[in-house]
Subunit: 117 residues, 2 copies
């Protein structure tokens, strides 16, 4: 039995971001995302039907949420909770190296009344 | 809006392991665990009612699963899936610094027939 590694098997050349499912159940999906300098296309927003908890594990990125003026700069270990339909954009990701994210997508209807987020 | 950081607010002195819930729903619990050289007491095993996906993000650790001869050594980025009732022990964690884990506990009954794990 051997562990997987979140930083392994990262292709050197990638025109697009890479999304890989690490674990999926009926209730959530855990995903590795690898960015190589990509950003959300100008004028576009992510508007997701599910809640997302995401942590940046390598590299760096700038996130912006609709209605917020400042870009949230993420460094390794930084995590953020993005509610369903909370419109956001990835302004930039590290242009020199790989940026590795771990994202947990789940249904907001599973939330507990007093859940800490 | 500011991100949290998985490596922040780690107390210097800790006799015991520290378990903190980062996100909890009716279906899963996401937890930060900080070890400071602790191991599972001799002769004891973890036998958990839930499935667990766990990633080591800082430090190092040795895991052993019942019936396996070799200790699985985990370094940053290494992750492993531990099924409910799969008895295991933490043989050791880094004695010089902190070991930071991110663990996702969930009900195995939520598993999809063809889930990748």
């Amino acid at each position: 039995m051997k562990p997987g590694n979140i930083f392994s098997e990262i292709p050197n050349l990638a025109k697009d971001e890479i999304f890989e499912t690490l674990l999926k159940t009926h209730r959530f999906e855990l995903e590795r995302i690898i960015s190589s300098g990509q950003a959300t296309p100008s004028g576009q927003w992510y508007d997701q039907p599910t809640d997302e908890w995401v942590i940046l594990l390598k590299g760096s990125a700038g996130l912006i949420f609709e209605g917020e003026k400042e870009v949230m700069v993420l460094h390794p270990g930084d995590y953020v909770h993005i509610s369903a339909h909370q419109r956001h954009r990835v302004e930039w990701t590290d242009g020199e190296g790989k940026t590795v994210w771990l994202a947990l997508h789940y249904s907001g209807s599973d939330k507990m009344p007093r859940s800490r987020e």
